[in-house]
C-alpha cells in the first residue's frame, strides 16, 4: 500500500483584504478624471478616511449575515485608472423610455464615457441640470458641493468612502425651485470593466417635480467585477420626486451601495428599487423623513437565482412629526440563492403622529434557496402608528393543483403564481414601461 502523500503548504504573510491602491493612485485618478480642485481634495480626504476604516466583517451588526471574505479585494484594478474597461456596447433595449413615451433628457454613460447626452431645450430653459457627475463637479461646483453628502454622509461606512475616493462616473440632476419637469429624465450607466465607482445626486428644490429613471447595468463576464456607489436624492419642501432605480449588473458583479433620500416638509418621494443582477449585493437604502408632513414610499423588487446573494438593508427614519413612510420589498428566490432583508423604522422623539409601514415578502421556489427577513422598530415618540410584516412562503401544492385543474400546465401554473406574488409590487409602480420590463424579467427568469 502506497503511503499517503502529505502536502505541506507554506503560506506567506497574508495581505490584508483590501484594495491595494496607493495615495499616488488617487492623485493619478484625479488627473485622469480631470477633477475640479475641490473634488481632488475631497478624494484625498475620502481616501484617507477609507484607509483608516477596516473592511466590515460579520462581527459588525449590519454585516452579520453577509460575508464578503470571498471577494478578492487585492485583485481589484480600477477600470478608469488601469484601462481595464470593457468594450461592450450598451444594449439598445436599455435606451427605451420606461416612464412615459419619451424622455425629457437622456444621459448614457458607456464604460466611463458619456456617449449620449440629450436634454430638451424646454427643460434647459427651466434651469434644469441633467449631466454626468464628474462634469457637474466642475461645471456646477457650488450646487454639487452644497448637496453632495448631505444625504449619504462621507463617513457612513467603508463603501461610501470608497465611492467618494474612487468615483469615475455618475449622474447629477438638479431641478430649481418650483420647476415641474413633465418628461422623465433617463440615465443609463453601462459599466463593463473590472471596477467602477459611481455617485448619483438628485436635487429637487422646494416645490419642484421630476421623474428620474436611473439604470445601472453591465454585461455578464467571467471575472469578478466590482461596483461601489452612492445614491442621494434630496427632495425639497413640497417637492415631488419619482425615482426609479434599476440595477441590472452582470451575474458576477459584487455590488455595494449606500443610498438615501432626504425628504422635506410636505414633500413626496416615490422610490422604485429593482435589484435584478449581480453575484453579490449589499445595499444600504434609507429614507429620511426630515420635514413635517413628508411622505416616502419605497417599493423594492428583487429576484435571486444561481448562487446570488442579496442583502437589502433598509431604514425609514422619521425625524419630523406627521410623516408617513410605506416600504414594501418583495422577492422570489430560485436555485441556491439567498436574500437578506433587514428593515428598521426609526422614530425620533419629536416625530409624533407618524405612520410607518414596512413589509418584506419572500417566495422560495427551490429547496436550497433561503431568505432571511428581519424587521425592526425603534420608536422614541409616543403617538405613532408603526407596522411591520415579514413573510417567507413557498409555492403551495394546492395552488398549483387548482390552476392545473383548469388546464394550465405545471410550468405555466408556477409562473402565474410567481407573477401573482409580484403583482402588488408592480401595481405600486406608476409607469407601465417599468412594469412591463419587470414582468418580462420575471417571465424570463421563471422559464
Amino acid at each position: 500500500m502506497a503511503a499517503p502523500v502529505v502536502k505541506r503548504v507554506v503560506r506567506g504573510a497574508r495581505k490584508a483584504a483590501d484594495l491595494t491602491l496607493t495615495q499616488a493612485d488617487i492623485k493619478a485618478l484625479s488627473e485622469k478624471m480631470n477633477d475640479a480642485a475641490w473634488y481632488a481634495a475631497h478624494r484625498e480626504k475620502a481616501w484617507a478616511m477609507y484607509q483608516e476604516t477596516p473592511m466590515p466583517t460579520t462581527q459588525d451588526e449590519p454585516w452579520r449575515r453577509t460575508d464578503i471574505r470571498a471577494f478578492d479585494w487585492n485583485g481589484v484594478a480600477h477600470s478608469a485608472l488601469n484601462g481595464t474597461n470593457g468594450s461592450s456596447k450598451v444594449p439598445a433595449h436599455l435606451l427605451q423610455p420606461l416612464a412615459g413615451d419619451s424622455h425629457g433628457g437622456q444621459l448614457v454613460i458607456e464604460n466611463g464615457v458619456v456617449i449620449d447626452h440629450a436634454v430638451s431645450d424646454e427643460i434647459k430653459a427651466q434651469g434644469v441640470i441633467f449631466t454626468d457627475f464628474l462634469s457637474a463637479t466642475r461645471d456646477h461646483a457650488d450646487l454639487v458641493q452644497k448637496h453632495l453628502e448631505s444625504a449619504v454622509k462621507l463617513d457612513e461606512g467603508k463603501f461610501s468612502m470608497m465611492a467618494a475616493a474612487l468615483v469615475d462616473q455618475g449622474v447629477f440632476v438638479y431641478v430649481p425651485a418650483g420647476v415641474k419637469v413633465e418628461q422623465p429624465l433617463h440615465a443609463v450607466t453601462w459599466s463593463d470593466g473590472q471596477a467602477h465607482f459611481s455617485r448619483v445626486l438628485v436635487v429637487a428644490e422646494d416645490g419642484a417635480e421630476v421623474t428620474v429613471v436611473n439604470e445601472l447595468s453591465s454585461p455578464a463576464t467571467e471575472d469578478q467585477p466590482l461596483h461601489c456607489g452612492t445614491v442621494e436624492t434630496i427632495v425639497g419642501n413640497e417637492a415631488d420626486v419619482k425615482f426609479i432605480s434599476l440595477q441590472t449588473l452582470g451575474e458576477n458583479v459584487w455590488h455595494f451601495t449606500h443610498e438615501r433620500s432626504v425628504i422635506g416638509k410636505d414633500a413626496n418621494l416615490d422610490w422604485i428599487f429593482a435589484s435584478l443582477g449581480t453575484r453579490f449585493t449589499k445595499n444600504f437604502t434609507e429614507l429620511d423623513l426630515a420635514g413635517q408632513g413628508a411622505f416616502g414610499r419605497m417599493s423594492g423588487f428583487y429576484f435571486a437565482e444561481r448562487d446570488q446573494f442579496m442583502d437589502h438593508d433598509t431604514q425609514q427614519n422619521h425625524l419630523a412629526p406627521d410623516t408617513e413612510s410605506d416600504l414594501l420589498f418583495k422577492g422570489a428566490l430560485v436555485d441556491n440563492s439567498r436574500s437578506v432583508w433587514q428593515g428598521m423604522i426609526y422614530c425620533a422623539k419629536e416625530a409624533q403622529r407618524i405612520d410607518g409601514f414596512q413589509a418584506n415578502r419572500n417566495m422560495i421556489l427551490s429547496k436550497k434557496a433561503r431568505a432571511d427577513s428581519i424587521p425592526g422598530l425603534e420608536i422614541l415618540a409616543d403617538d405613532v402608528a408603526c407596522t411591520h410584516a415579514a413573510t417567507i412562503g413557498q409555492l403551495e401544492d394546492e395552488h398549483l393543483f387548482y390552476l392545473m385543474s383548469r388546464g394550465i400546465p405545471y410550468d405555466e401554473a408556477r409562473r402565474v403564481i410567481v407573477e401573482g406574488f409580484y403583482d402588488p409590487i408592480l401595481q405600486r409602480i406608476p409607469f407601465e414601461g417599468v412594469q412591463l420590463r419587470l414582468k418580462a424579467f420575471i417571465r424570463e427568469k421563471i422559464e
Binding site: E398, M404, S405, R406, G407, Y410, A413, P424
Partner: protein
C-alpha cells in the same frame, strides 16, 4: 357525446383505503347527484377524477369517452373536458379572475396548436363579459384577485364562471351548496341550469336535498363507506331527506 365511466375504483391515501370499488357512468346531458354522510369518500372521488396527485389508485379505472385518463395530469384532464368546482377554492394572490381565465383558455388553444398566440384580448373580454352576464355577475368581478377576500357565495360563483368559460363536457360540483345562503344557492343553481345541455354531464356532490330542489337530478346515488350502495331517480333524494341515512346504513350494515 361524452361519457365518463368509473369502473370498480379503489383509492387509497397514505395506505388508507377510501374508495372501495366505485362504479358510476355519466353521459352528457345527464344530471347525477351523489349523496352521503361526511367521510364516505365523495370528495375523494371528485379529486381523483380531477387528477389530484396525492391519491393512489389501487384498482379500477376512470374512462372518458372510452379512454382511460389515469395517466393524464390534472391539466390534461381539464383540457380533455373534465371540470371540478371545488368545495374550498383556494385564493391565488395577485392573479385576477380575468388573467387566470385567459391563461386557462390560452393553455387549451396552445395544447391544440403549439403555435397558437392565444385569444386576442378584445375577443376574450367580450367572451368573459358575455359569460358574466349569463350568470348575472358584476363585470368588476373580472378584475379582482381570484378568490381573495371573496365571500362564500362569490367563491362558488367564481367556480361556475370558470365552468361557463371553459365549457367542459363533464362537470363535478363538490358541495357547491355548502356555505351558501338560500339566495346564493339559487343563483349558483340557476347558473348550472343555464349551462346544462346535451353536451354537458354533471355530477353534483352534496349532503342535502336543498340544492337538488333547484338542480333536478336525473339520477341519485348514495355513497356509504367508499361505495355507491343505492342508485335511483330524484325520489331517492326526497326519501333520504325524509328518513335520513340511518335506514340505508342499517340496510347495508351486513
Amino acid at each position: 357525446m361524452s361519457t365518463l365511466e368509473i369502473r370498480d375504483l379503489h383509492v387509497s391515501i397514505d395506505d388508507n383505503e377510501i374508495l372501495k370499488g366505485v362504479n358510476l357512468t355519466i353521459n352528457a346531458g345527464e344530471k347525477h347527484a351523489l349523496m352521503g354522510p361526511n367521510g364516505t369518500g365523495k370528495s375523494t372521488l371528485s379529486y381523483v377524477i380531477a387528477g389530484h396527485p396525492d391519491y393512489e389508485i389501487t384498482q379500477g379505472d376512470i374512462l372518458l369517452n372510452g379512454e382511460s385518463i389515469l395517466e393524464m395530469g390534472a391539466d390534461e384532464r381539464s383540457r380533455a373536458g373534465i371540470f371540478l368546482a371545488f368545495q374550498y377554492p383556494v385564493a391565488i394572490p395577485g392573479v385576477s379572475v380575468a388573467n387566470f381565465l385567459r391563461t386557462a383558455l390560452n393553455a387549451r388553444m396552445r395544447a391544440e396548436d403549439s403555435e397558437s398566440k392565444g385569444m386576442p384580448i378584445p375577443q376574450f373580454r367580450r367572451l368573459l363579459k358575455a359569460k358574466m352576464d349569463l350568470l348575472k355577475m358584476d363585470h368588476k368581478f373580472a378584475g379582482r384577485y381570484l378568490n381573495e377576500g371573496f365571500s362564500g357565495g362569490e367563491k362558488k360563483r367564481a367556480e361556475i364562471l370558470q365552468m361557463a368559460t371553459l365549457e367542459p363536457s363533464m362537470a363535478i360540483l363538490d358541495e357547491t351548496d355548502s356555505g351558501l345562503d338560500i339566495d346564493a344557492l339559487r343563483i349558483v343553481s340557476e347558473g348550472v341550469n343555464t349551462l346544462m345541455g346535451d353536451s354537458l354531464g354533471v355530477l353534483v356532490i352534496t349532503h342535502y336535498q336543498r340544492i337538488l330542489n333547484y338542480i333536478q337530478p336525473d339520477f341519485v346515488h348514495i355513497m356509504l363507506d367508499g361505495k355507491i350502495v343505492e342508485s335511483g331517480g330524484g325520489e331517492l333524494a326526497e326519501h333520504l331527506e325524509e328518513h335520513g341515512y340511518e335506514i340505508i346504513r342499517e340496510k347495508h350494515a351486513a
